[in-house]
């Protein structure tokens, strides 16, 4: 969100960064380090605000002598808008699955060389062959997770089995819903037994009507503050991403996470090299580093997101491994659905969402 608001300053920043990218100094950056010892190599990493762990990046800097400059965003759309605006100077970014597909089709991504990313071989099976990029040509999964319900077990002792608990009048004014058209309509679609990628106007209409009926119970639509609201007890049910709920549990141990029986969104954020990058070799070296087992174990422990590296789950702290908000039980995976871009139906979703909001 901060990113949206600070966009104006970011544009200025990007103009500055773009001009750095053009100056002769950085042209040396793809050479071997000893041949350009006078110009320190720099890598521009554009990532989610909760993915930038300074220690993990610092280790890469120490290992390679490369300086990693981090800039963050808080939504896929913000990432796309910035990258689409032209010369950004960024090398590596972390779009979610469907957005990686869109960016690849828009020609914004550079092809990956599997030779340079040997850790690609370690990606979990359930993250392989996905529709947006089955062969990891442009994008390789990094961290993944689910969308479910974060709830306070002190108030709701039995784990909710259905999304319909978000329509339970007993919790009026103590429910938060993501502020995200696709996720929210998708959740309602799943609760009605439809695909969350439905392009059928009648199904979207039904989901809309159901969400309008829910609105009087909803305290807030937010994608950023639900974890704090769970901790403070202002909401007891949150339509939520797993990672922030896992972090909220540390502050309020009665918080739990569950994916209802109807299933919901499964997602993975992918590492990509931007087509405009001038340091592609270095960028792929960095991607391989982030997927390294030891690095990924520490990433998973610290950020509380599941790693795409299949060797990681057995090596993380038991409390992280057994937390369903971080590592969903394998039995859940068949019930989950990947969100794909519904380009033709975007306006249907947008209209339904606007109607919910004006109601």
């Amino acid at each position: 969100m901060n990113g949206i608001l600070l966009g104006r300053y970011t544009v200025v920043l990007m103009i500055v960064m773009g001009s750095w990218g053009c100056n002769p100094g950085s042209d040396h950056s793809d050479r071997a380090p000893n041949s350009a010892a006078d110009t320190p190599r720099v890598l521009y990493y554009f990532t989610w605000s909760d993915y930038a762990d300074p220690d993990i990046l610092h280790e890469f800097e120490q290992r390679t002598g490369v300086r990693v400059v981090v800039d963050t965003y808080s939504s896929n759309e913000e990432l796309l808008a910035k990258v689409q605006s032209g010369m950004t100077g960024y090398d590596v970014a972390v779009p979610s699955d469907f957005m990686a597909g869109i960016m690849a089709r828009l020609g914004l991504l550079s092809e990956l060389d599997p030779q340079r990313i040997p850790n690609m071989a370690l990606i979990s099976d359930h993250l392989r062959g996905l529709p947006f990029d089955p062969e990891f040509r442009y994008a390789v999964p990094y961290l993944w997770g689910t969308v479910g319900i974060g709830y306070d077990s002190a108030v709701i002792p039995t784990p909710p089995q259905s999304w319909n608990i978000l329509w339970d009048p007993r919790y009026r004014g103590r429910i938060s819903i993501l502020n995200d058209q696709r996720e929210v309509l998708g959740m309602a679609l799943r609760s009605l037994g439809y695909s969350l990628n439905s392009v059928n106007p009648a199904e979207i209409e039904a989901a809309k009507a159901k969400l309008i009926a829910q609105k009087p119970l909803v305290k807030v639509y937010t994608s950023e503050q639900f974890d704090q609201l769970l901790v403070s007890g202002e909401v007891v049910l949150a339509h939520a991403w797993g990672g922030p709920v896992a972090r909220a549990m540390r502050e309020r141990p009665s918080i739990r996470y569950v994916v209802p029986q109807e299933g919901g969104t499964i997602w993975t954020d992918c590492l990509v090299v931007l087509a405009s990058s001038r340091r592609r070799t270095l960028a792929m070296e960095f991607i391989n580093y982030l997927l390294d087992v030891d690095v990924a174990v520490r990433t998973s422990n610290r950020l509380l997101f599941a790693s795409a590296n299949r060797l990681v789950k057995d090596r993380v702290d038991p409390s992280v491994r057994e937390n369903p908000a971080v590592y969903p039980p394998p039995s859940l995976i068949p019930r989950m659905e990947w969100m794909i871009d519904v380009d033709g139906a975007v306006q249907l979703y947008d209209r339904a969402w606007t109607e919910i909001k004006v109601h």
């Binding site: 949206i4 808008a81 995200d180 807030v220 937010t222 007890g233 975007v346 947008d350 969402w353 606007t354």
Partner: protein, 305 residues
């Protein structure tokens, strides 16, 4: 938008200076070279006019596949603006901005009067106190309101502490919270022009009115308000314009339950990836602002100001 505020300011609150200002401009243009104007013109051209033209141009294009912009000329975005679905959102933005302006005027006037009539030393201190919040980013100050208004926040804790309420009140994520945020954010824009306007009213006029047995209320209504009108109008324009397009306040304090013009533009541009329709909405916002300025100007003239 900034420059239209500037024009507004010169047109009304400093109305008496306007002819001199225009005269000076003409003198400058004709008697000396245009050269010193070039940096400013270049700056306005690159950073104001060009983006503005881009927005207008984009509003005539259509949404391409995957959310790009396709340069096929169409008026469909403007037709979509008339969709009844969106009319409610415009109306809501205008009403919210109108009420904000009114509340700012009612709160701001006594404050401005007190400051304008305070001794010189106090006046400086009081004006600095109004300006101090500007040293911090508006976003940070809006976040502060979240901590004040939430269930375990400052206000609820205080009210519970003195035993006024048993359960925390739902303050955050309501229209009331948005109003508080808007009034808080824009009150200085009302107070500052009012101070200037009231300061210019000689206190001898008030004394004369009092000598003629006018009550305080009559003095206020018949002497001060009419003479402070340029300041009131300038303040109202300065509050109303940013309030119509406000984004941060409704987004953070409103809890995403309702849309306003600012949040709708953001949704269309970023979420629906429909830049042309977002651009058309931006043009609409500019037209609304322009209409406000024209109406205000007409009203101000008609009133003999």
């Amino acid at each position: 938008m900034c420059s239209s505020i500037g024009i507004g300011k010169k047109g009304w609150s400093f109305h008496h200076d306007a002819p001199a200002f225009v005269h000076l401009m003409r003198l400058n243009a004709f008697s000396s070279s245009l050269l010193p104007l070039w940096p400013a013109l270049l700056f306005l051209g690159v950073f104001f006019l060009a983006p503005l033209l881009m927005v207008v141009g984009m509003s005539l294009a259509s949404r391409g596949t995957y959310g790009g912009v396709e340069w096929a000329l169409t008026l469909s975005n403007y037709l979509r603006l008339a969709d009844p679905l969106y009319l409610g959102i415009y109306l809501r933005s205008l009403v919210m901005a109108g009420i904000t302006t009114l509340v700012c005027a009612i709160l701001g006037f006594p404050l401005a009067y007190t400051i304008a009539r305070a001794p010189q030393r106090w006046q400086t201190i009081l004006i600095i106190m109004i300006l101090i919040p500007f040293w911090t980013n508006f976003l940070v100050r809006t976040y502060a309101w979240i901590f004040i208004l939430r269930a375990d926040g400052l206000l609820n804790t205080l009210l519970q502490g003195i035993g006024l309420i048993a359960e925390p009140l739902p303050l955050l994520y309501t229209d009331g919270a948005v109003f508080v945020g808007l009034v808080y954010g824009y009150l200085p824009f009302m107070v500052l022009p009012l101070i200037i306007a009231i300061e210019r009213i000689p206190s001898a006029l008030e004394e004369a009115a009092r000598d003629l047995y006018a009550s305080t209320w009559v003095i206020f209504r018949r002497v001060i308000i009419p003479l402070a009108k340029p300041g009131i109008i300038a303040g109202c324009v300065l509050v109303f314009i940013p309030a119509v397009g406000a984004f941060i306040t409704p987004y953070l304090l409103g809890g995403g339950r309702r849309l306003m013009l600012g949040t709708l533009i953001q949704q269309e541009m970023l979420v629906a990836r429909d830049w042309p329709f977002g651009a058309a909405l931006s043009v609409l916002l500019m037209v609304l602002v322009l209409l406000t300025l024209i109406l205000t100007r007409r009203y101000a003239r008609w009133d003999g100001l």
